[in-house]
């Protein structure tokens, strides 16, 4: 029995691992894009801008001149995603298209449930990551950017050669928190009937009338998180050569 249970839970781990891996793969870069959106200083009605008609509006309405639409839209989006439960987002993303269209478009994919689940997780986690990234970027002293500018570096050179690594160093501890939370959030996937770890363990209470497999799943989460903890400690140590 023990081996049957272990094998079933390991299959659940496979699903959870897949969800975990693809969420990170897409959410890590997407979070950076959202962070840049949120920090965007683009003000179309800026008074000294190049596009004259909009500027005239800016002169008449000073509040409009300070308006940063990209930044505002991103902030609203992040607010909505962070302000609602991931479980609800999962349900909406998986079921709503099927309600609006004649058939559920997710079913066009070989593993539509998992695909929808990854999409929901990526959006959700990218928003959380973006806030961490923004803190990391804004935490790099302005003097670093200025030193780069004065040395004739381009904006992208300054970001990639000067800011990025300092940002990474700053964000590793909060990101490790968030990524560990992600491991446990994979259990939400069962709401759209994905057999992740908990669902796999719980299945035995119905089929065989035993409860211990559910408790036993904790071991797998702990092992997963243990490996991550070691990994993060390693990264932190690798980045400790500078301050």
């Amino acid at each position: 029995m023990f081996w049957t249970v272990t094998r079933t839970i390991l299959e659940g781990c496979g699903q959870a691992g897949k969800l975990f891996f693809f969420t990170l793969l897409f959410a890590l870069p997407l979070g950076l894009v959202i962070a840049f959106g949120s920090m965007s200083k683009w003000r179309p009605f800026r008074v000294t801008g190049r596009f004259q008609p909009l500027c005239r509006l800016g002169t008449r309405f000073p509040k409009l001149a300070a308006w940063r639409p990209v930044s505002m839209l991103t902030d609203v989006f992040v607010w909505i995603i962070r302000g609602t439960p991931l479980m609800l987002q999962l349900i909406i993303i998986f079921y709503t298209p099927g309600k609006l269209l004649p058939q559920n478009p997710w079913n066009n994919f070989s593993d539509g449930r998992m695909f929808a689940c990854i999409v929901a997780f990526v959006i959700n986690y990218a928003c959380y990551f973006s806030v961490i990234y923004r803190g990391g970027i804004e935490g790099v002293p302005a003097g670093q950017r200025e030193a780069g500018e004065v040395l004739g570096m381009t904006r992208s050179q300054i970001f990639f050669k000067v800011t990025l690594l300092q940002m990474v160093k700053r964000v590793v501890p909060p990101m490790s928190n968030e990524i560990i939370t992600l491991v446990k959030d994979t259990s939400l996937a069962r709401i759209i009937a994905i057999t992740e770890i908990i669902k796999a363990g719980e299945s035995f209470s119905k089929s065989a009338g035993i409860v211990w497999p559910l408790y036993y799943t904790a071991v797998f989460y702990l092992a997963f998180v243990g490996v991550l903890t070691i990994l993060f400690r390693y990264i932190e140590r690798r980045l400790s050569y500078f301050k």
Partner: protein, 261 residues
Amino acid sequence: MAILEVQNIEKHFGATKVLKDISFSMEQGQAIAIIGSSGSGKTTLLRCLNFLETPDRGRIAVNGDVLFDAADPATQRENEIRKKRLHFGMVFQSFNLFPQYTALENVTLAGRLLAQERPDFKSRKKEIFAEIEDHGRELLARMGLADRQGHYPHQLSGGQQQRVAIARALALKPDILCFDEPTSALDPELTGEVLKVIRSLAEEKTTMIIVTHEMAFARDVADQVIFMDKGVIVEQGQAKQVIEHPQQERTKQFLFQYSEG
């Protein structure tokens, strides 16, 4: 011809006028010290020269080339500003070394990145990088840091960090080197080693603008001294003349406070 000509520079931050009608010029090989109390606009002036701030009015010309003219938007394109900045070097009060690079890498980074824009970069990459590195080593040696090339900034004292920053600014061979209170963040014991380096640069006739609170240093090292107060140049002249025999009442007052302190 003057190497640097600054004409009628004005700068506001919101409703505050930080610089009011600043004009001065300097010759190749001269060192100018700018003195004045905090908030007098000294730092803002340096930042305007380095394009870290955009003046609201006025012109800046180097070697007769108009680099900036507030009335002419064509002089304010971002990509050109990047090139124009290279006429000026900047040494910051807080050093601003890149913490993730060694002393030598700090000095050579910008040169290596700029080299990528050279037409012969692909064919001579190795030679070019070797030249940049040799030059970097040479500069660090001149700063008395030959044995500190591989150290990271946090492993260096404040004075050593500032000397690396000076080498980094010199590496791109600017026409004019700007110092923004280079010793204000240092312990008195470490101030001396940085001032010594700046002094030796002055002896080699490096064109420099130094914002400083070290009056004796300004008197001995600079050719000219500019005294600023509330965004205007109150007095300007030969260094010894201004510091020992100031003409303006405000300058006398300011220098008197220093002799008291």
